[in-house]
Symmetry: C2
Subunit: 217 residues, 2 copies
């Protein structure tokens, strides 16, 4: 079967699919930190939704005649490294990681949605985008924890900074190694100004999320 | 709303639901040990199916006017303890845990399926039972690993013994604390002979599974 998709679109599907698969596995594992069954339920349900996103991206690659494992392979190291370097030490750190990670994923789907040429791939990305944002339950929990013990806010703010810092380091690494993908993501221009504007949008959104949690970004 | 279900059925739904939720969370976490994306996919897909079982059991409890958290609460300690005491040290141990755990769960659903009086609950248990057995992919992988390095067989056989030993210790603890559930599970007789026959069936099946893996039980 002939492959219709260009390399940038294949790379995009690969990074999104492996991103969902690792997010699923780490979040589901972090659910063991939950202090109650209903907390565990909330994080586990979010992880299960991420597996469903992964499955749809994986199936789409197969439908398009692309081996999913080959498409995901270049993104295994940076995504594993991000998670290996950011294991939550407790439930609150796990919640913040879920919320910040879900937010970054939502931003990423939103950024690329407009630029994907292939209609079927774009449709899938919009559908997954519509199903993100499930981590909003974290906001009330984190705010309540800070109200109960204001001293945790400093540690959690640092944790949020670390998460976004590690995410940017890995994103930078992916961008350097995948020109076609980077060009697509900055709207076809691929210039430094485009990358700068993209980073500004991502960090602005991250700041807004940290504020929603009651934390300095 | 009036609760229709008797305590044994509520206990059963509670232990099944929390069993699926913890299996989901631990298996999904163990997927990080996978040596390849396709291995990760296989274990993650099995974990996602377990979340779906959990969700259905949870929804059924709500439909029947029972608070799921209350129903699951008595089983949190034994199930968490089982998993806390059996963290896989590598991918093969994770695979065996998935296979042995899935097998024990299948046996358990099969044992109770006949004895649940409530038709809606029995129907749900039969549906979940039909969706178990997803860990058979583990058999070929474990056998191949033993062929490649026969020296691992001894360690893995011990691991299988530990898993079933820890499972029986926790099952015993649950049985002692939940008379009504135990009576239901041994077919209403509740006598020692019935419990003995049940344990014989469970250990016979475990032996068969260990043989399928190429391991002494």
């Amino acid at each position: 079967m002939t492959v219709r998709l260009d390399q940038a679109t294949i790379d995009l599907l690969g990074v999104l699919a492996y991103g969902e698969l690792t997010a699923f596995e780490r979040l589901a594992g972090d659910a063991r930190l939950a202090p109650s069954i209903s907390d565990k339920h909330a994080l586990a349900a979010m992880a299960a939704a991420e597996f469903e996103h992964y499955r749809r991206l994986n199936d789409h690659l197969i439908t398009e005649g692309i081996d999913p494992e080959t498409a995901m392979a270049p993104f295994v190291a940076p995504l594993n490294e991000f998670h290996d370097l950011t294991p939550p030490n407790d439930w609150l750190e796990g919640l913040i990681k879920a919320y910040v990670g879900d937010g970054l994923a939502t931003d990423f789907y939103r950024e690329v949605a407009a630029f994907v040429q292939d209609a079927a791939t774009r449709g899938l990305i919009l559908e997954v985008l519509a199903d993100t944002g499930q981590a909003s339950f974290a906001v009330a929990k984190v705010r309540a924890a800070i109200t109960a013990d204001p001293a945790v806010a400093g540690r959690l703010a640092l944790w949020g900074r670390r998460l976004v810092g590690e995410a940017l380091i890995q994103a930078q690494r992916v961008a350097v190694e995948h020109d076609a993908l980077t060009e697509m993501l900055v709207g076809g221009s691929g210039d430094l100004a485009g990358i700068g504007r993209l980073l500004t949008r991502l960090t602005d959104n991250h700041t807004a999320r940290m504020q929603a949690l009651g934390l300095q970004s």
